[in-house]
């Protein structure tokens, strides 16, 4: 199973290396900067970020749906404090990711704003996903 998962992820990564664009374009300063952060390549990168966010959300929803932990429920349960943290982090992540999607779909905003939105989205996603990777959340 682990081998299958590893192969699957490698395929996804390979697909994104050719599909996301920004990952490969920025490795060389000789390649046009504008093309790397705007247009289809940037849109594909944000699409991949969206997918990662949705996957993290799936984990968060699965955790949240468990009964809340209590004195009598101590296993297979969700911690109220963690659920609260996840909801807050999710609100931040969703706002940032939605803004990034809007930015890459609105090229007239300019490279600077698009790049800032993409950075903010990925930082917020990393913070949110860190919560969904906590022990007990991913199970």
């Amino acid at each position: 199973m682990r081998l299958f998962v590893s192969i699957l992820f490698a395929l996804l990564l390979a697909g994104c290396l050719s599909g996301c664009g920004a990952l490969t374009n920025v490795t060389s300063p000789l390649i046009g900067v504008t093309g790397a952060v705007t247009g289809p390549a940037a849109q594909r990168t944000v699409y991949a970020v969206n997918a990662a966010y949705i996957a993290a959300l799936e984990v968060a929803v699965s955790y949240e749906s468990k009964p809340r932990c209590s004195a009598t429920v101590t296993t297979a349960c969700s911690d109220t404090a963690i659920v609260t943290q996840m909801r807050k982090a999710n609100a931040t992540a969703k706002a940032a990711i939605d803004a990034a999607e809007t930015a890459v779909r609105t090229p007239s905003l300019g490279d600077g704003i698009i790049a800032q939105a993409m950075q903010a989205a990925q930082i917020a996603l990393a913070a949110f996903s860190a919560l969904t990777s906590l022990p007990g959340v991913k199970s």
Binding site: V5, L8, F9, L12, G15, C16, S18, C20, G21, A22, L23, V26, T27, V33, V37, G39, P40, A41, A42, Q43, R44, T45, Y47, A48, V49, N50, A51, A52, I54, A55, A56, L57, E58, V59, A60, V61, E64, S65, P67, M86, R87, N90, K94, I97, D98, E101, V104, D111, G112, A115, M118, Q119, Q122, I123, L125, A126, S129, T132, S133, K138
Partner: protein, 84 residues
Amino acid sequence: MNAPSTPRTIDFSELQKIAEYAKQALDIIEQLVAVGGDVLPLIEQTRERLQAMAAAGRGPSAEEWAAQDTMKEDLNNQLNSDDR
């Protein structure tokens, strides 16, 4: 004398940061894959769509964005619902 090149709003170091964040996002997917099978169809579907988009030299279509947006909204509603 040549005219100075057009100023760019983003320098290479900023783009490197973006690439690093994109890589982080993919690393997160790897972590999520380790969680279980629920996200595997989504990852496989995303991989296939990204490849198709790249082959066609295009970004996501309005329908592809809409599908993701619907999933995000549904999951957000579930996460923030206290109807349990």
